[in-house]
Amino acid sequence: MRKFELLAVSALTLLAAACSQQGPADSSAPSAASSSAPAAAAGKTIGLALSTQNNPFFVALKDGAQKEAAVDGYTLTVVDAQDDPAKQISSVEDLIQKKVSVILLNPTDSSALAGAVKEANNAHIPVITLDRSVDGGQVVTHIASDNVAGGDDAAKFLIKALDNKGNVIELQGVPGTSAARDRGEGFDDGIKGSGLKIIAQQPANFDRAQGLSVTENLLQGHPDVQAIFAQNDEMALGAVRALDGAKRANVLVVGFDGTPDGIQAVKDGKIAAIVAQQPQLIGQLGVKSAKSVIDGQTVEAKISVPLKLVTKDNAQ
């Protein structure tokens, strides 16, 4: 009986060791390449702590980081928190123990990860935050989409598409989140002074079902509307359903994010335009900045990743 247990544990240990050497999905530098890597990168490991891989956005971010790491033969160690802040603290601690050169942190939550960042600070390992920021500790730089500029892009698109005249409804995200605040600020400032008028603003909490019901209600109260700006794709898709139900196919919908569902709706002509984030680019810039930090160069305290306006003409 005990022999069986010994056998089982040894087999698993071997399995773990085998995985660590191949690591086809997560370890971007193959073992052969890392031995022949340039001297500067030899032995340098960058840690990437992801919030979740159960969301295409963060998988794309990881892909971008891996491609960039492979360029100079850096090793990228990816840990995944499955959206559990406690698990993410543990994985950041593991990266600290592994003595990685830089930690790229995509926090599950801004408040919960402050302690982990402080631990990395104490261990003198530089931290770079991706997509979401952290409320405490020292980070070298924060890399995220420029949501204010994205909101402005959406405003410019609508002003042009509606010939500078018409009424707009704005569906807002979860109140108090930075994404909702910045996207709203950029859009509202972009509309100000134009011929367009925002006749209603209401939170639908980044949620498709709420986007549907809030739009239904607003259409009742404000039938004279030519466009809807939703602060994310999910709410935009909800608004599309409400417009379908009310037989108002001529109302232009603009979304934000560029999720697969959203892009498909652009191709189908249901959504006029989406201000798309570029998660691949966020991951790529993260690793680039990490390399600069390793080489002793200074990096900007905040790096804004440009957004891309997706319409039927360039949707893919």
Binding site: M1, A16, C19, D83, S91, E93
Partner: protein, 314 residues
Amino acid sequence: MTNRFSFGNGAALLQRLGSVIGLLLLLIALSVLSPDFLNAGNLLTVLRQVSINALIAFGMTFVILAGGIDLSVGAILAFTGAITAGVMASGHGMLLAIGAGLGLGLLLGVINGVLVSWGRVAPFIATLGTMTLLRGLTLSYTQGQPIGVSNNSFALLGDGYIAHLIPNPVVWMFGVFLLCAFLLRGTVFGRHVFALGGNEEAARLSGVRINAMKLGVYGLSGLLSAFAGIVLTSRLYSAQATAGSGYELDAIAAVVLGGTSLAGGRGWLFGTLVGALLIGFLNNGLNLLGVSSFYQQVVKGAVILIAVLLDRRK
């Protein structure tokens, strides 16, 4: 009859040591495979990482030994953590908040016990129900948002150190372990837990107060889940609406890996500690080795399956 009780015979003791040997083998293997593994810093880090799961798993051990199961532990952790943070956010002191959290955890555990004993609901279903109910209550109480904690003394509970070295959660873990071990081995309550799980009818006939015992074990499980929730809230500087998802399964895995029988009546608390450490060192080691997180789940699943297979062979 004596076999059913905690002490058992020599052969059973050897069987139990399987989990300890498994842990030692894992430690040796990881020390050889990863240069960063074997040092005080990393070992203390892992101890702190396992403390939350261990606290819950100690309570779970009592429930499983008594022939039950408690699926609501993760939900109790989230709800009591949110209430503790909420009490502080509304301007009350830390002691009142902790008292409220612990009291609520005990109460919720006792409610599980009432459902299982007088309500005659199967433990799996009763605690599945309370789990779902509490998840909903937590989401509505927090509105899905984290509740921040700015009380510095409260933060020490989960984030501080004794003598600048030993993380506080590790102290709680070993303290609670000693208390629970005494409760299980040194008291009538503990002996009755084994009797209840071994053969409920025989226990009833020999004068064990079955219903009261069930309130006791589920109450203890709720209380320890609440304590884990408070330590976690302190460690995260915030209560998270979805905290503790899947923790019930981690706790059950620790109990089973430690050699306690899911059928009840047979097992030991030290094994649960070993089981929690096995899971923790496995997580830590796989991260240090740079194993893809996808394969990590495969390895963990395989370890649990093997442990259950071994349990069947006993």
